[in-house]
Amino acid sequence: MNWQIHLPALVLAVPLLGAFASPVAGLGGRATRNAWMIFISVLTTAVCIMLWQKVIAGGTAVYVMGAEAWNITLPSGLSWPVRIILEVDAFSAFMAVVGSIAALAGAFFSLRFMDRFTGLEKFSALYFLLVTGMLGMQLTGDLFNFFVFLEIASVASFGLIAFWRDRPEAVEASFKYMVISTISAMFILIAVGFFYGRYNAVNIAAVARMLQMGYAEKIALVFLVVSLAMKCGAVPMHMWTPDAYAEAPAGVTCLLVAVSQASLYGLFRVCFSLYGASLGSTVVPWTIIVMGVLSMFIGVTMAVIQKEIKRLMAYHSVSQIGYILMALGVGLLALRDPQAMADYGFTAMKGGIFHIINYTMYKGLLFLTAGAVFYSAGSRNLNELGGLARVMPQTTFMFVIAAAAIAGLPPFNGFVSKLLIYQSTFAVYPLLAVAALVTSVLTLASFVKVFQTAFLGPAKKTYENVTEVPASMLLGMSLLTIVIIALTLFPGWTLSHLVEPAAKALVDQAGYISAVMGGGL
């Protein structure tokens, strides 16, 4: 039997094993714990890449848990699926690869970054639970399972954000996130309940095939869209983001960036694959576009005035999510009009999906560089920092690359995805492109401020003993830097091999439904 058929399950099983075996690995001491963390992270990334290759080569993969055979989605002659089904199309596989790379970089970085603290076996257990939750959200074909994985990721996030429990700010940030996250999760659960009540099914493909737009479906749509938009940090529900991102350990923040993308994945899976053409009016696409524009502008203007490096970067996360929401909102707007889809909708979707990988890589790297500054200089306050480029040249170099990429400076990867977004959104409504351009300028301005205040300037006596961070932390940052440079140098390859298949999978609602409802064989 070909073992590769089990790849969807392995993607979840490997980090889950990593999580539960972490306390055992911790008994072997620091070296064993570190080796276990890296082994599981590398294996998870490898399995995700293999799954992506399998999906690109063979089309959507389905995996049925507990059936007589892994691929029988409609067992015993039933007309709808009853078991837990993982459904992995090119969009899911793409997201899994992006998330696993961020998790790997965060794991490398955390080895030494967290070394000064106790309870590290709990840290690695929570870290891998968060990875499992994130990947589960991206691979499941089932709405209730999506909720379960979302909760696994949320609970692990609460623990990791509050990991430095001697810091009241960390506990407060975690508490706030827990309150808002739990309430939004309840809204998601109610929405899933609506579907179960109406259609006696929670499988996305099964519900999508039967879906008829009524009041229950509209309310469920609102609950899902707004809750998932909150989870990815869209304005006006973004307030938890700067607190949580700033207080979590840097390696965790890198992973949280990828986890927010899993919520974004859920949002667009719901809009494109669950509702698709049934969305009817343009209210939801425009709601997403407006949330995107507000997120871009409010996020970046709040970032400009921040004096704490990680809070500044967290507000930029809000702003970057805005680009993706706006681009995929434009794609959603064009969904029912083939001409509009061909003219600008598909370009917007490609730009949005390309921005997902770009954003995860450069934002993850920026948070890691902020962590490196905190590790070496002991401060995150931009009013205090200065002259660090002299003593932390490698970190500075990687910060400059990430900052240039997020600001959309040519020739970096951020420029390419933003170019696609500018041009396609201009075709819908020129002011959208203007808002995106202004946001980009302000992004550059605030990162120039970080560069000037933290890295440039004369050497400060306070930091005369500061040295570059250890090799494993540099390795975590280098991994993301290499990916950014590769995306910069080969945008054409990235678009044709990674982004376009993902975008095509996302708009192909019929293909998503038939992979399960066709019986899976």
Binding site: F175, I183, V222, V226, P236, L382, A445, Q452, K461, W493
Partner: protein
């Protein structure tokens, strides 16, 4: 070519940009090489000009702090920033309020 991106409105080729960068860098280096080469390290030529004042020994006394960056921009947009900072109260019940309010507004828009 693999590295060329067509947007439907134009195209982007990273290697053309890198070529442009390389040519620009060569020009800059050429202009630099035309400059004077009688600069002497360790003499008065080497001293920092600090408004005719003595240069502080600690760099902390010299730089512009982050709080002062973009002062004019922030001052010009003060009403906007005041409103924005008020919204970011840091109170958990406010976070929930904004979430519920957004659900209500989007629900009204979708249901109408």
């Amino acid at each position: 070519m693999l590295d060329k991106v067509y947007s439907g409105f134009g195209y982007w080729d990273v290697f053309i940009w890198l070529l442009f960068f390389a040519i620009s860098a060569a020009l800059v280096l050429f202009v630099r090489s035309m400059g004077r080469n009688d600069y002497k390290e360790g003499t008065d030529q080497d001293e920092i000009f600090y408004g005719s004042n003595p240069v502080p020994e600690d760099g902390a006394d010299m730089g512009v702090p982050a709080a002062s960056a973009y002062w004019g921009f922030v001052e010009a947009l003060k009403p906007y920033y005041n409103a924005l900072i008020d919204i970011h109260s840091g109170i958990a019940s406010d976070y929930v309020g904004y979430f519920v309010l957004t659900v209500a507004i989007v629900a009204v828009l979708v249901l109408l």
